[in-house]
Every structure is written in C-alpha cells, then in structure tokens.
C-alpha cells in the first residue's frame, strides 16, 4: 500500500514529522516518535527489520551528543550524579543529552524510512506532475543524480593524480589550497557534462515550453490526502499524549527547564 502513496505526499508527511521532532526538547516526545515510526514501518513491512542497521551512524552521533551534554552541559544548579575521572555527569546534563540524542535518533529514523522507500524517478515525476515543478529543473536534477556516484571515484582519482606529482610534500598548511585544486577538475568536468546532457536532451526533443506527456502518470489520489491527514493525526496524538503526561516541552519558545 505504501507504494501507492505519492512520493510528494510522503515527503510532506515526513517533513511534518521531522518538523514536529525538532520543535520539542524533552526526551519523551522524540522517544514516542521513534517507537511509533519503527512500529509502523517495520511491523507493516514497509521497512525490513535489518534496514534498521542504518540507524547506527545516527546512534553514534546521538551517543556522542548525549555524552558531551551529560558531562559538559552549561546548566544551573546541577547535581553531579556520577564521576568518571575528570568527567562530572550532572542530572540536568543527562536529561538534556538524552533529549538531544533521542531527537537525533528520531530524525534519523524518519530519514531512513523516507530514503529507503523513495524511488528518485517517481519523486521527481511527482514533483513535476503534482506540484508544477518546472520540468527543466526536475530533469536536470535527475541527470545530476546520476553523476553523484561517479564523483567519489573521480575525487579518488584526482587525489592519486595529485599525490604522484608530489603535492603531499607541501605540508598541512596547504590543504585548503589542495582542496581548491581538487575542485577545479571536478567542476570543469561537471560543467562540461551538464552542457552535454542539456544538448542531448534537446536533441531528443526536450523543450519545456511545449506540451509533453508522461509515461508514468502520478495523479494525486484521495488516498494521498488521507495519508497526510492520518500522519498529522498520529503526530497530533503523540503531542496530546505527551502534553497529557506533562512531558511536552517546546524547544524554541522558552520551553520549560528540566
């Protein structure tokens, strides 16, 4: 059923959820987002359980944030609850760190759900057909997307090509200069490629000002609207529970201090 929902609708729902997560700074609300999104996606089979491995990098980042805040958060009237060598972990620091860490995990989870269920072609077509995205921009985006994997390989080649000319010997100070030197061939190549693609597209009859058809039609269905409504309801419900339990704390308008 997930596949039948327009990518644009999924994008909207996803952005709404992410926005909601970054709006709060208590640890409970993002936990609920995390649990609910895992439950909804894994248990309904949208995301295979083992894909959750992708949360790991977010996990490391989250743990680092937690650790830093727990030990060094700038808080008033904090009580030291534990020490490890020179590190002093405060109660408020731990809560603050936990809230941050959970927000990172929740955002990570939402990103993973979105990216692993998204088909880039459908995303672009959906933007063009449902949101009147200019085709020239959209197709350029598609073409650019194709070159992303080659960039890394090219970067490695350039680095090796420079190293064998002896550029390593200049020392660390020169790294900014070196980066600039790497960028020139990458950019030159990129621009030339973009020009060639644009010419090739025109040769195949692409002219955005003229009417064109689409093989894959992605009409906006009522189910898409309902999907967004349902997502908003779930988000609202999480907030309601959080507020009811007196957990909710807003991040941006002078939220309550823990």
């Amino acid at each position: 059923m997930w596949n039948q929902i327009s990518p644009a609708a999924r994008l909207i729902a996803n952005l709404a959820a992410m926005f909601a997560v970054v709006m709060v700074n208590d640890p409970y609300t993002p936990t609920m987002f995390l649990v609910v999104s895992i439950a909804l996606t894994v248990w309904t089979g949208v995301l295979q359980g083992r894909r959750l491995v992708r949360l790991l990098p977010f996990g490391f980042f989250a743990f680092a944030m937690f650790w830093m805040n727990a030990a060094w958060a700038n808080v008033n009237d904090a009580v030291v609850v534990a020490t490890l060598g020179p590190l002093q972990f405060t109660d408020q620091g731990i809560v603050l760190g936990l809230a941050l860490a959970l927000r990172i995990l929740a955002v990570g989870m939402l990103t993973i759900v979105f990216l692993s269920t998204m088909d880039p072609t459908e995303m672009v077509l959906s933007l063009v057909q449902q949101f009147r995205f200019p085709p020239r921009l959209a197709y350029s985006l598609m073409a650019a997307l194709r070159f992303v994997p080659t960039l890394e390989t090219e970067m490695q080649l350039i680095r090796a090509a420079h190293r064998i000319r002896g550029t390593g010997a200049e020392g660390r100070l020169a790294w900014g200069r070196r980066l600039y030197r790497y960028a020139i061939p990458l950019l030159a190549g990129g621009i030339r490629r973009a020009e060639r693609v644009a010419i090739a597209m025109e040769a195949r009859g692409f002219a955005p000002q003229h009417p064109r058809t689409y093989m894959r039609k992605l009409p906006w269905r009522t189910s898409d609207t309902w999907f967004i409504v349902a997502s908003l309801v779930v988000i609202g419900a999480i907030f309601a529970v959080s507020a009811h339990m007196n957990w909710l704390s807003w991040a941006w308008f002078g939220g309550r201090e823990f």
Binding site: A143, R165, G168, P185, R204
Partner: protein, 529 residues
C-alpha cells in the same frame, strides 16, 4: 530534398575564424554518408547545425541556412526535429537524464507528446531492435557497459522513428567489444532504408554501409563529395595531406619506426634487473571480487609494453598497483627492486611517471609554464635554473606557444603532452600511460604517439594501457593481455595476431589488416604525415 544547406557559415562566439564556411549540401533522407575531415574541420558542428542544436543549444553565429523537410530547421520545434533526425553522441553516459533504460526511452516519446498508453510497446520494440539484453534493460544505466549504453541511446532515438540517424563518433570512446555492439546495431537499423550521417575517425567498420563521403578541410569547407570508391581511390593523396585516416589495407596508418627497435632491446636487458616486477599479485577493491588473480610480470629497462584487455579485465587495477593506489592482498609489486608500498610519494615520482586517462586530473597550477615549473620545484631545482629548463621542456614537447595558457584550455592532445612532460621531470625511467589516445582524433593521437616513441628511443621504458590494437601493433614491442583479472598472454606482439579466436574471446580485435604482418615481412614503414 530532406536536408539542404545553403552558404552555411558558422562561427563560435569566442573564435576568430568560422568553423564551417560556405557549406552547400543536398542530402536525401535515405542516403548513407560518412563525414570526414581533420580535427577542427567542423564535422560535429555540421551535425549539430543540421539538427538545429547550433544555434539553439550551442551558441554560435550562423549565416546561410539549413533546411530540413523544406523548412528552416530552427522553425521546427525540438520535438519535430527529433522525430526526423536521431542524434547519437560520442560520450555514452552524458546523453542520458534518467536512471533506468525504460524511462530513458520514454523521455523522448514524452517530449513528442506520444500517448502514454502507446509507449510500453514502442519502448519494448526499440530496446529489442538494438539488441539490449533483457537483463540490461532492468539495470541502472550507469551500471551498463559503454557499448550497452550506446545501444540504449540508439534505442532512445529509434523510438522516435527518425528518417535519418546522425552519429557523432559513436564508438570512439568504446573498447573493441563495445564498438562491435554499436556497429552491429546500426547495420541492423539501416536495413529498412533509414539514412545515416556518421562522423568517425575509424572508418573501416562503416565502409560496407556507405554510399557517399563528404570531406571537410581544416577551414571547414567541403573539398570532396563523392562515392567512397572515388574518394578513397582517386583522392588518396589529398586525404593524406589533410591528415585523414584512410581505410585501406595497403596504407600503413601509423609509422614512426624507421629501424625496428623490436629486436635489440630484450637481449640487452635480459640480465638487467626488471624495472617493474609483479610477483603473484592478487588484489580486490574492499571486500569485492578479485580484480587481479595471481599476476606475475617482469618489465625490463628500455622495453615498450602495451597492456590490453576488455573493460573490466583489470588493466587499470594493475596500473593502480604500480603507484600504490591499489594495494595487493598478496604478492609483491617491485619498482627497480623496491616494494611500491615502501616508497614515499616523493620517491615514487623518481621511479615512475604516470599519466592518467584524464590528464586534467593531474594539473596543479594555472598555467602550462607553471606545471613544468612546479615539477622542477618539487625536485629542488633552484629558481634561476628553472626558467631555462621550463623553456626547453616546453619547446621539446611543442607547447612553447602555450606557455601562458591555462592547462584546462589546451586541446586533448596538448593536455596529455603537458601531463607527460610534467611527469617526466623527476627523471623517472618508466612512463605509464592510461589510454593515451582515448577520445582523440587521429592527428592528435599520432602527435602524442610520436612523442612517446621518441621518449622510448631515448631510453624511457613505456607501459601503455590501450584498447587500440593498431597502436599496439605499430609501437609496442611486448604486449600483456588481461582477461577477467588473469594474465593470459605476455610476450612479443606479432604472435598474438595469429590467435584470432583468443582475441575475440578476450574482447580484443585485430589491428586493421594493413597493419598486420608488415613488420614480420621486414618492410620499412614510411611516415604518412
């Protein structure tokens, strides 16, 4: 008349003189035409102009006119042009804008506003007609081989059912196996009476198709326009003086070698220490499959080796082990007896000069002068000596007049010469070249090869990765063939040509007939330039 040009003159905005001058042509829709001429003669520009891409997509001053189906080509919409002329470009991967083959073919149909319901059948038919295998049709475009990508591009233009195909050097960036794929497909497609205009430096594979040859000279004027028989037999010397590749079994295409260097080198060097020595090298990228399977190879000082094999056979990987870009899982890579992984970068440059496939990757300054100066500076040459040395190096490599130019502004051949010159300053006895002539026209390729041959005669050991068997035949003394990561042949060049079945299996091809065997018969080769 399907296409008519009248007094067509085209000048690019930054150029002083026109690239095409006063071109009058009449072309019927079912004609099969070869467009010949030296580099800079405006062959590609003419194709672009016929399709209205000049001046629509590429800015230029155009006088005179191009009529397509009795209307100025620019009066048609791009879609209307695309329905009449199918354009195939040189570089496979930069003519696509979608991720998967089906979407790519659909893209053109969508531009022509074809009914979506009709598309799947047209797409399936086009992909089948160019012979793209079913498995490849499901793959992401960037995972396809170059030959398959060109077939896909052909399918994409074929879907629009154009009357004529315009092919702009469609095989010049492909390996021999890929080239065969494309040529075969085109042969199939023109059976139904479709016309064809092809620009290609390597003429031979197309000969059987052609009915007419149009030759442009350096100034962009039409100098010959006749049947292939007339052009290639009666105007041979004119073509030769233009620097155009001749498709003839009797003409030696390349010819630097006056005295045959093949005999003397090995005997003299057998006792010497190898300059490169690979011992049971096995290598892979990450956890991937082995790309090099137990390779052992010795290269002795003064030799000229070619390293050949189909795409993905492990050529580049092997070359990468020589500069430590790829570390073997087991086995050893020795440069003059020292393991590569023990050499520091600055030592490495004294053992090996390595010219990458894209020479732009190696430029580290903003001027041609600066590139050579940089290399000398790295060596610790004092500033007052450098100026003279830079000047003489640029002189030697024919780059003196470009001293102040930006390296990125040079032509493809000049860029490679500059990269070779810059790399050699550290005094390395070994020069490794990755596809030195790839994507270059014949004349520039020749100039570069002459430079390399001269360096070889001066005692530099050469290892050249290439797809071009003509270069192997004309220049190399020894050849190493890689096939699926294994070294399947290493030795003298001539015996390789007597194994046609193996050549085919390894994804290689014969050098053009005229080139084969000349050396064995001991005939002297004359320079054709």
């Amino acid at each position: 008349m399907f296409i008519r040009t009248e007094g067509l003159t085209i000048t690019y905005l930054d150029a002083e003189r026109p690239v095409l001058e006063n071109v009058d042509l009449q072309i019927a829709a079912d004609e099969r035409i070869l467009l010949l001429g030296p580099s800079g003669a405006g062959k590609s520009t003419l194709l672009y102009a016929l399709a209205g891409l000049v001046p629509r997509a590429i800015e230029a001053r155009v006088t005179g006119q191009v009529l397509l189906d009795n209307r100025p080509v620019t009066a048609w919409t791009p879609a209307q042009v695309a329905a009449r002329l199918g354009f195939l470009f040189q570089e496979p991967e930069s003519q696509f804008c979608m991720l998967y083959p089906t979407d790519e073919v659909a893209f053109g149909l969508e531009n022509l506003a074809v009914e979506p319901e009709a598309m799947p059948a047209i797409i399936a038919d086009s992909l089948a007609r160019v012979g793209l295998p079913a498995r490849a049709q499901q793959m992401r475009i960037d995972r396809l081989s170059g030959g398959q990508q060109q077939r896909l591009a052909l399918a994409a233009v074929l879907a629009l059912n154009p009357s004529m195909l315009l092919l702009d050097e469609p095989t010049s960036l492909l390996d021999p196996a890929g080239r065969r794929l494309v040529v075969e497909s085109v042969y199939d497609l023109v059976q139904d009476g479709r016309g064809l205009i092809v620009v290609e430096h390597l003429v031979d594979p197309w000969l059987d198709l052609l009915e007419r040859v149009i030759v442009l000279d350096e100034t962009g004027r039409v100098v010959l326009d006749d049947t292939p028989t007339v052009v290639f037999s009666r105007h041979r010397s004119q073509l030769q003086s233009l620097g155009v590749w001749l498709p003839d079994a009797t003409v030696r295409p390349v010819g630097f070698i006056g005295t045959s260097p093949r005999e003397n080198t090995h005997g003299a060097s057998a006792q010497a220490e190898p300059i490169v020595s690979l011992r049971h090298v096995r290598a892979a990228y990450g956890d991937g499959e082995l790309v090099l399977r137990d390779i052992s190879l010795d290269i002795y000082p003064g030799e000229f080796w070619a390293l050949v094999g189909a795409n993905g056979s492990g050529k580049s990987s092997l070359a990468k082990t020589l500069i430590g870009m790829l570390t073997p899982m087991s086995g050893e890579v020795l440069l003059q007896g020292r393991p590569v992984h023990r050499l520091r970068t600055c030592e490495l440059t004294r053992h090996i000069a390595y010219v990458f496939q894209n020479p732009e990757h190696q430029f580290v300054t903003d001027t041609v002068w600066g590139e050579i100066d940089y290399s000398l500076k790295q060596l610790g040459v004092p500033a007052e000596e450098r100026a003279d040395r830079v000047r003489s190096v640029l002189e030697r490599f024919g780059l003196a007049e470009h001293a102040a130019s930006n390296p990125f502004a040079l032509s493809g051949g000049q860029k490679r010469r500059l990269a070779v010159a810059a790399m050699l300053q550290a005094g390395a006895p070994l020069l490794v070249l990755d596809e030195p002539t790839f994507g270059q026209d014949w004349r520039h390729a020749q100039e570069l090869m002459q430079t390399i041959a001269r360096l070889h005669q001066e005692g530099i050991t050469i290892l050249m990765l290439t797809h071009d068997m003509n270069l192997v035949d004309a220049y190399a003394e020894k050849v190493a063939v890689l096939h699926e990561g294994r070294l399947v042949y290493a030795g003298a060049v001539a015996p390789l040509w007597s194994r046609p079945a193996d050549l085919l299996r390894w994804g290689l091809e014969w050098p053009r007939s005229g080139a084969v065997g000349l050396r064995e018969r001991g005939e002297t080769v004359v320079e054709s330039d």
